[in-house]
């Protein structure tokens, strides 16, 4: 068997060394009544050549981004992943290593994380970053837990413009962790001072906004919100799109205390939703409340620079029930993808990817509005996603467009029943003018 090294002769020698007659004896501690007396009922084993064939045909039952024109975004983005990213991730010294517990033999992973942390800090304008979390949604949850811990309060005020997928996850956690979730704010323009004061009170641990928000809007007033929140002793949490941070002011400059969110857009394939990575950065003062791994630089016995996992006293394997979080495995390889991606692009490349996405989104928006049957959706400036109102059933449209090789736009009623005639378009730098014009033509015919 290719994956099991022992031959019958090896087994015999080893059994002799152990002093038992057969392997079954090694399982003697398992009560007899529990020992399976039948084979598991699983499909017959498939040798690699057949297995690969079968899995290729399963894959062929999906329509991948390369086979269609994708206008879906909503938190998972069809940005180009440079070839180099896959080649580096394919180095088995990275992907077949465990968490770098033994620092001296894991400097590759550790230094890469240190570089990742630096990039996340520089992008968000905040002081410290961890080594990654499961995804954008759970990163928001962890940010909330930092805030509730820091403030010892349990009310959380969330913008309706926060990705509903994140809000759903947050709702689950709040439910079980006895936190109070209030959804309100923004999404239809700037909130008034009163509205803010009504929502954010002395029980509020945190206010959460998204930047740009789920609808693609770049909301004004984050700084103002920070002031209100801080005045009430609450923290401001911002789920920011890291690609947008190539062009937009970093959350740290807007008064945000914790920036967090989904890092998929940075060099990770869409992968049907995962694995991706949650990132989280915060002001120095909250460092010891951060969940997850953190890497720090240090020196070895001879004074040479090196890296280690640090501040582990926050973590579950040391602190157990008093840990800042239960997270153990994270999304290290996805964070490596983000690190390689940002290294390739540099500041200019990132700004370009952001700008091309923005320009193309605006081109499409303008073209779409020429179509009878399409009218503006939510107001205000937007990044690379936008909403429009369609004179058609959005779900039916969604299905019809598949026939034309088009995936999207997303019917918003799925998440916002009240926005039943709105759809959400996303345009990344990958969409060509030809594709955009094609979409406009097809939609013109359908509406």
């Amino acid at each position: 068997m290719a994956f099991i090294a022992n031959t019958p002769a090896d087994q015999a020698e080893m059994l002799a060394a152990i002093g038992v007659a057969e392997i079954a004896e090694l399982f003697a501690d398992i009560p007899a009544s529990l020992r399976l007396t039948r084979e598991l009922n699983l499909p017959a084993p498939e040798a690699e050549p057949i297995l690969l064939k079968n899995l290729k045909s399963l894959a062929a039952r999906n329509i991948s981004a390369g086979e269609a024109v994708v206008f879906l975004g909503a938190g998972t983005y069809d940005h180009y992943v440079p070839s180099v990213v896959g080649h580096i991730l394919g180095r088995s010294e990275f992907y077949t290593a465990y968490t770098p517990y033994q620092a001296e033999i894991s400097q590759g992973t550790l230094q890469a994380i240190y570089e990742y942390q630096t990039m996340i800090c520089n992008l968000t304008g905040l002081d410290v970053s961890n080594a990654s979390l499961y995804d954008g949604a759970t990163a928001v949850v962890e940010a909330v837990l930092m805030a509730t811990g820091a403030t010892r309060r349990c009310k959380v005020v969330v913008s309706a413009g926060l990705n509903p997928e994140y809000r759903r996850v947050l709702a689950t956690y709040c439910d079980f962790l006895d936190l109070q979730l209030v959804v309100g704010l923004l999404s239809e323009g700037e909130p008034s001072a009163e509205q803010l004061h009504d929502l954010v009170d002395e029980q509020t641990a945190a206010v959460i906004v998204q930047y740009p928000n789920f609808f693609g809007q770049i909301e004004a007033g984050i700084e103002q919100l920070a002031e209100v929140a801080h005045a009430k002793g609450a923290l401001l949490i911002c789920a920011a799109n890291p690609i947008a941070l190539g062009l937009l002011k970093p959350p740290g400059e807007l008064g945000v205390d914790i920036a967090c969110g989904e890092g998929q857009a940075l060099g990770n394939r869409m992968a049907f939703g995962g694995p991706h990575l949650g990132y989280l950065a915060c002001r120095e003062q909250y460092l010891r409340r951060m969940p997850g791994r953190i890497v720090g630089a240090t020196t070895d016995a001879s004074g040479k620079r090196g890296y280690v996992l640090t501040l582990q006293a926050r973590e579950q394997h040391i602190r157990r029930q008093k840990a800042t979080s239960n997270i153990c495995s994270n999304q290290a390889l996805n964070a490596l993808a983000a690190t390689v991606y940002l290294s390739l692009l540099g500041p200019q490349g990132l700004a370009q990817v952001a700008e091309h996405s923005v320009q193309k989104a605006h081109y499409l928006y303008n073209q779409l509005l020429q179509i009878e049957g399409i009218s503006p959706g939510l107001p205000g400036p937007f990044f690379h996603e936008f909403t429009v109102r369609v004179k058609a059933n959005p779900e039916e449209l969604f299905s019809r467009l598949v026939e034309y090789g088009i995936l999207g736009p997303l019917p918003l009623a799925r998440y916002y029943p009240e926005l039943s005639d709105l759809v959400l378009f996303c345009v990344t730098e990958q969409r060509t003018k030809e594709e955009l014009d094609y979409l406009v033509k097809v939609l013109g015919g359908l509406l």
């Binding site: 090896d10 084993p45 297995l51 990817v353």
Partner: protein, 489 residues
């Protein structure tokens, strides 16, 4: 290759030169507008973010060199207990790299992702059969995430029965992994520790003392983190169930029992598996993992949404699950990791999985037999897929387990898990896995015996280890005292 005198790899920021880049985009092919006309001027960055400016070769060389500073399964033995560092079949990587899986948007229409839905549906079924559970969710992203999800399910169950307010305690053995108490606490439970007895099992008498109407659940790893099978599992299940509590199974050690025994048959109500351990998905230097959660029928209604169901010949998502706890992660979990596990199970089949457990246990017992005279063995029993030695004998000579671990690195072998479980002094937890050959095990035995000898004869050799790696022993205390967590140039 790495040359011995290499002065480390500079942080990539230190390699940066303004204006250099490793990427280029096609020219913008739509009419463009000034950014200030479409984006709020006051929200535009004044300064570009500080990111490295490096050529494509520069990036490739930097990360290639970094990779060369890592130990990995592909480069050497990795007997890190509890982590099941088995070989990760290359075919799994190929499958997960197919565009038809890797380039799917999670929100694309169901009719355009039938292959992916089928993988999810069938993998859940396989995991049910392997574990004896009735239903699975693939949503949790890792083991700890699975634990938290499982505890939410347990809470939901008690809520439904109107007992949530009273059942506030989760019992955890003192040998448990840190994530167990952490997850319980995170989910709002009080953690009650139950001690182990001299055979390394849960102390039944102690368990009886802490169990009661306040008990929400007992979390158990079986085989436990000592590598020992919980012999009294049926009695334990009875005790907890009788008190109205549920049994949670931490599946991190499921590699030992594949095809041999099933947690579902042992009385567990909720379990998680670590696909990145038992099912051969690589660990990625820290992740991604996947921690699917399985439940008995009574808890199925609470599983996270959506679930994949099969209608005749097609698959779809079901979001209409009124009792569901909701979502615990965006979308459907770490899909590509699940896909690797799916591929693995299809390749192994039932007989293959059973052979995994048999050989994992055989390898561990072989190592135990070869090493038990050289180190203290706190629980002198047959082990399952891993076992725990104590370095107390060597400690007496001034050599800590940490020193021995560091010395092992000099042999090109990863250290065992050390100082865990907490109940063993100077613990070394050794898990060889089934993919290692007797020859590799013998080399490890030689190294460990040599280290035992060195601990007696030349302790300073160990205290100064490692000496043959790119860096010598790193100062963790200094790192924590003066955190330097980002490059500032």
């Amino acid at each position: 290759m790495r040359v011995n005198n290499t002065a480390g790899v500079k942080p990539i920021f230190a390699e940066s030169v303004p204006g250099r880049t490793g990427f280029s985009l096609p020219a913008l092919d739509v009419p463009s507008q000034p950014l200030s006309a479409i984006l709020p001027a006051d929200l535009l960055r004044q300064e570009p973010p500080v990111l490295p400016e490096v050529s494509e070769l520069g990036v490739v060389r930097h990360f290639t060199r970094l990779s060369q500073l890592n130990h990995s399964v592909d480069s050497g033995f990795y007997p890190l207990g509890s982590c099941t560092m088995k070989y990760n079949p290359k075919i799994n990587e190929d499958v997960a790299g197919l565009d038809g899986f890797a380039d799917l948007h999670p929100l694309q229409p169901e009719e355009t992702c039938q292959g992916a839905l089928q993988v999810i549906f069938e993998l859940e079924q396989y995991l049910c059969e392997i574990t004896g559970m009735d239903a699975f969710t693939l949503q949790p992203a890792a083991g700890a995430h699975g634990e938290l999800t499982g505890l939410m399910l347990i809470k939901a169950y008690h809520r439904q029965r109107g007992e949530a307010a009273t059942r506030t305690e989760v019992i955890v053995p003192d040998s448990a992994h840190g994530t167990n108490p952490a997850s319980a606490a995170m989910c709002g439970f009080k953690v009650v520790e139950v001690p182990s007895n001299e055979r390394g099992n849960v102390d039944i008498a102690a368990l009886r003392r802490v169990v009661g109407p306040q008990t929400a659940a007992l979390m158990l790893t079986n085989p436990n983190t000592l590598g020992l099978f919980e012999e009294n599992i049926l009695e334990i299940a009875e005790i907890v169930h009788e008190a109205g509590g549920l049994l949670y199974y931490d599946g991190a050690n499921a590699n030992a029992i594949l095809g041999i025994a099933r947690p579902g048959d042992m009385g567990f109500d909720v379990i998680h598996l670590n696909l990145h351990k038992t099912f051969a998905a690589p660990h990625g230097g820290g992740g991604p993992g996947a921690g699917p959660v399985g439940v008995k029928r009574a808890l199925e209604p609470f599983l996270p949404l959506p679930r994949v169901i099969k209608d005749a010949d097609s698959y779809r998502f079901n979001y209409d699950l009124p009792q569901s706890i909701g979502k615990v992660k965006g979308f459907y979990g770490n899909f590509l990791v699940a896909l690797k596990a799916y591929t693995y199970i299809r390749q192994m089949g039932a007989a293959g999985l059973k052979a995994v457990a048999e050989n994992a246990v055989l390898n561990a017992n072989y190592l135990l037999a070869q090493l038990k005279d050289y180190f203290d063995l706190p629980y002198p029993r047959r082990c399952m897929h891993e076992f725990v030695l104590s370095g107390s004998r060597q400690k007496a000579n001034g050599v800590k387990t940490l020193d021995m671990a560091k010395r092992l690195l000099d042999f090109g072998i990863h250290a065992p898990t050390i100082y865990f479980p907490l109940i063993v002094e100077e613990a070394m937890m050794i898990e060889p896995t089934e993919t290692e050959s007797k020859q590799t095990l013998d080399e490890f035995v030689q190294a460990m015996r040599q280290i035992a000898r060195e601990a007696e004869e030349s302790p300073e050799l160990l205290q100064q280890a490692p000496t043959k790696l790119p860096v010598s022993r790193l100062d963790e205390t200094a790192a924590a005292r003066n955190p330097d967590l980002r490059w500032r140039g």
